[in-house]
């Protein structure tokens, strides 16, 4: 499923809303999550999962081809941990959603 298909499914369930508004809603949600992570904040969605940002320290690495030492700068990477309920659903421990 890609974003446009997600929007189409939501539009089907919400015939009273304009598709244009659903597009804005979906974009707003992912924009808010992205913005929070860019600030270094956590995003916690109970049942679904939690997003956080992990810091990777600067390190000396090696170019595996030449063996040359290279400096890798500090970086921050987004991280997602699956929520308990979704993890159980994926394994059939909770009946599927209607």
């Amino acid at each position: 499923m890609v974003k446009s298909e997600l929007i189409a499914r939501l539009a089907e369930q919400n015939p009273h809303l304009y598709q244009r508004d659903i597009e804005r809603i979906v974009s707003t949600i992912f924009e808010e999550v992205s913005r929070a992570l860019a600030r270094g904040d956590r995003v916690e969605l109970r049942g679904f999962g939690a997003y956080s940002v992990k810091r990777r320290a600067a390190r000396q690495a090696r170019n595996p081809r030449t063996g040359e030492a290279v400096h890798v700068a500090e970086k921050h990477v987004p991280f997602f941990k699956t929520g308990k309920e979704l993890r159980q659903r994926l394994n059939g421990q909770i009946p599927p959603q209607s």
Binding site: M1, V2, Q13, D21, E74, K75, P96
Partner: protein, 102 residues
Amino acid sequence: MATVTRAHLTEAVYEEVGLSRNESAELVESVFGEIGKSLESGETVKISSFGSFYVREKGERVGRNPKTGDEVPILPRRVLVFRPSHVLKERINRSLSPKSGE
């Protein structure tokens, strides 16, 4: 470090579109609900410029109880993997590690 929750997302949706707070909350719920349903059926979910979610099937393997050292089988299971898009990774790095190349 602050934590963003469904309530914040609902507020953002409420301010962006002219829906009631209740309906905004339902829409936020539906978005994650639909993603969850899709993943449950084993389908990959791709949100452009954000990232993709996919389900990985893990085989059975032997684990160990770290306290007692007993061998215990870890049953086959499905795990969810989130791969952030380059756009998201770059955005986070630009704001949190501005000196890094990315």
